[in-house]
């Protein structure tokens, strides 16, 4: 590997790899994202490799173990190019057939195709699947094309072109101006203008000229994994963004703060750093421009609060990961007291795109105040669990129904929690809300880093609020009183309500306490922590009241408030509930209606889940 000394050398190398890539007529991409790996995609990859060698196709077929494709619901995913045939839920025994039929003969194996649940028709191509059709995968799309451990793959799809463009003719101020003009806002949750942040950091005084760049990959929201998948599947796009940012800001040292619980991310990023250094895209005299920049990986210990910028920097310095007041911004005095520019993974990955295609192109996507696309992790009670990248301004309805495929089991949509534990629950009445930074804030939620948890009618909103508050109580650093003690008392009250010990006035107390926690907490963790409670009270007050006044959980979730009984008219005595009851609380003769002994019942719900006749009633 020889160091590249100029943008022209990079160009010829890109062409060389692109040509090499095209020389192999067929390509198989196997999703190596976290979800698919859990389904066994690593074994699948090895089986493909073996089969290809066995058939003597090594020179003809380009086999790739890529990053996450996003359609996690249907893993393991295998895509045959150039046709873009997509096979879902591929198992080991399918491998020889795929090679023989689809790769060699170009036939489609109907059995492995995706079936559209609405029309019942088989879908052949990736771009025709409704899940992908409505997306605009500008940032995330390359994941499926490249092997994250191969810089050659990234170069073959014109990777590092934006860096070359910047280094060969743009002044740092011009880069900042371009980013400002694009309207890019921070994807980590705050939504601050990225260009303005860069500018403040560049203009902040630094005695010895030291400025730091940080990539915040401390993704900790329950159910969110887009930063992980992006950094895991396309680390070079993030690195390229960081190098461009460093050039614009005037920094020579950068860090990626990534969770230690993301071992594959750490590994792939480490490989990417080594290879980029090998080609002279990182380190000294990048592409012969005289600009130096190096990146180090720092692994976080898993504290949620370390995603907060000042806590992250304290942790990077080797101190306790707790936030400090931000009256002096981190762009003026951040890591080691030096001007520091911190952006989220997704923000960095947007940068090369803007430089390549221009701010005007970028600012045409999205809404007035929010430009570009956003990756959401669509999870919960939804048919198509996965990562979706959509333009800002899309409605929640489109995300949930058109892309997400609606709610499983024909149940009714109830709410969607956006923005992770610090976001809010948006009810069904607001499902036509367009999704952007400002609109979400207006309804009491937030964009956050892009978690989207869908809930159906069987979700208890008090229980949901309790879950998030419990999470945040454990993740609060414990420094300031409103967050540490306030959230703990909030959890006490919510626990009481769900256990049937709620009192008159508890809702008002929660609202008062929530307001004070929001107003007086030291950092944004506490400042947003009451959102799940306040937003569920705002939109689902009747559920809270039912718990307190009527001792009733309308969704049938809170164990202390529900009883399981068997409908004698519906029960035909099949005995499935009886066999599955862990407490032996169900009795009854065969073909006779069964009964539940309430003293023994622990309300686990297994009888309801196993009953084929809907005879188990929860009241």
């Amino acid at each position: 590997m020889e160091k590249l000394r100029s943008p022209a050398e990079l160009k010829s190398l890109q062409e060389k790899f692109a040509k090499k890539r095209k020389s192999r007529k067929r390509s198989i991409a196997i999703c190596g994202g976290t979800g698919c790996r859990a389904f066994g995609s690593e074994e699948l990859f090895n089986a493909f490799k073996k089969e290809i060698t066995l058939q003597g196709l090594d020179d003809k077929v380009d086999l790739k173990f890529t990053g996450c494709h996003g359609f996690c619901e249907c893993g393991t995913l295998v895509i045959i190019r150039p046709e873009e045939i997509i096979y879902t839920r591929v198992a080991l025994q399918d491998v020889p057939e795929i090679i023989a039929e689809s790769v060699v003969k170009k036939n489609v194996i109907e059995r492995l195709l995706y079936t559209d649940p609405v029309s019942g028709e088989k879908v052949k191509y990736e771009h025709e699947i409704p899940f992908y059709k409505r997306q605009q995968r500008l940032v995330f799309g390359s994941n499926g094309l490249i092997d994250p451990t191969s810089i050659e793959d990234y170069l073959a799809i014109d990777g590092y072109s934006a860096l070359a463009k910047v280094l060969s003719g743009m002044k740092p101020e011009e880069v900042i101006e371009e980013i400002k003009k694009s309207g890019l806002r921070g994807r980590g949750g705050g939504g601050f203008s990225t260009g303005r942040k860069w500018e403040s950091c560049r203009n902040a005084p630094s005695k010895n000229g030291t400025r730091y760049i940080i990539c915040n990959a401390d993704e900790g929201d329950p159910g969110a994994y887009m930063d992980r998948s992006l950094l895991e599947g396309n680390p070079h796009s993030v690195l390229e963004g960081m190098i461009i940012g460093a050039y614009a800001i005037g920094s020579n040292e950068g860090y990626v703060y990534v969770r230690h619980e993301y071992p594959l991310t750490v590994k792939n990023l480490g490989i990417a750093l080594d290879k980029a250094k090998g080609y002279g895209l990182l380190g000294e005299d990048i592409l012969g421009s005289g600009f130096n920049f190096d990146v180090k990986i720092s692994r976080g210990g898993g504290a949620f609060v370390c995603g907060e910028s000042t806590a992250l920097m304290a942790s990077l310095e080797g101190k306790i990961g707790e936030p400090r007041p931000k009256h002096i911004h981190t762009v003026v005095s951040g890591l080691h007291g030096k001007p520091t520019n911190l952006n989220n993974v997704e923000t960095w990955a947007n940068v090369p795109l803007i430089i390549n295609k221009g701010a005007d192109w970028y600012s045409n996507i999205g809404t007035e105040g929010s430009k570009g696309t956003k990756i959401f992790s669509l999870v919960g009670k939804i048919n198509n669990t996965g990562l979706v990248e959509v333009p800002m301004g899309i409605t929640l309805r489109e995300i949930v129904y058109d892309i997400g495929g609606g709610i499983p089991g024909g149940k009714k949509f109830k709410a969607v929690q956006t923005g992770g534990p610090s976001g809010g629950c948006i009810p069904e009445s607001l499902i036509d809300l367009t999704v952007d930074f400002d609109k979400l804030a207006e309804v009491g939620s937030m964009m956050g880093s892009g978690g989207m948890i869908v809930m159906d009618e069987s979700t208890c909103m008090v229980d949901v609020a309790k879950y998030f508050v419990k999470f945040l109580t454990g993740e609060s650093c414990g420094k300031c009183v409103p967050c540490r003690e306030g959230l703990d008392r909030m959890l006490d009250i919510l626990t009481d309500i769900t256990e049937g010990a709620g009192k008159e006035g508890d809702i008002e107390l929660l609202e008062e306490l929530g307001g004070v926690i929001k107003d007086t907490s030291l950092c944004a963790l506490g400042g947003t922590a009451p959102n799940p409670v306040l937003s569920t009270i705002r939109y689902f007050r009747d559920e809270y009241e039912a718990h307190i006044k009527e001792q009733r959980c309308p969704a049938g979730v809170c164990k202390a408030l529900i009883t399981f009984t068997i409908d004698e008219d519906k029960c035909n005595g099949c005995g499935r509930c009886l066999k599955n009851c862990p407490q032996e609380a169900i009795s009854g003769e065969k073909k006779e209606p069964h009964k539940i002994d309430q003293d023994k019942c622990i309300k686990c719900g297994l009888c309801r889940d196993n009953c084929k006749y809907d005879a188990v009633i929860v009241t």
């Binding site: 009256h327 306490l513 107003d519």
Partner: protein, 221 residues
Amino acid sequence: MVELTIDGIKTKVFEGTTVLDAARSMGIVIPTLCHHPGLSPYGACRVCIVEVVRGNRSSLEASCTLPVADGQVILTDSERVKKARKVIIELLISTCPNSKTLQDLAANFGVNEVRFKIKDKNCILCGLCVRYCKEQMQSGGIGFVGRGTSRKVATAFGVTPEECRNCGGCEWICPVCERACTAGNLIDGLCGGCQNLMPVETCTVCVHCSESVGAHGHKVY
């Protein structure tokens, strides 16, 4: 010099002063717990909050860490401040009901009811002892361990470190432990002679704090 307005009165102070110091220099009373003039500002207890007015909008900030700025408009005793401060004191009292300092604070600011569950701890994690040990004694023998509600002040690995010189400064500076309420039963009597009549469940004279002997019979780390 920086000119700002506190409670409607214009004042000029040196740049770098905190709003707390500026207000106190004018004789305005702002309560504090985690603040000490000899230690670095920390901003943890939040009882020193003030309202910072920016046009039609305002926010609550801890005055001990808030630097003064030209044209700043500060309200130290607005309804919003009073309401939030009362909830914070209520939270603190429910955490450490036996502290005379907190009971006095509650009495002074009109908190006469606790709507939250009493936790009966003996530490409000103000961090005065930690900062005193590190900044004044140059020792660093004690620090914070854990996070959230399991956060506590402790020595490393639970053993007395070599750095500890048994100076007792941690105990001397503690607003909770050192001045624990001595009344037998808070429901019957006044807490340590302060004016508060707040009913709290029990008082187990200086909870968890009698393991080793310090100047006042409390634990010295």
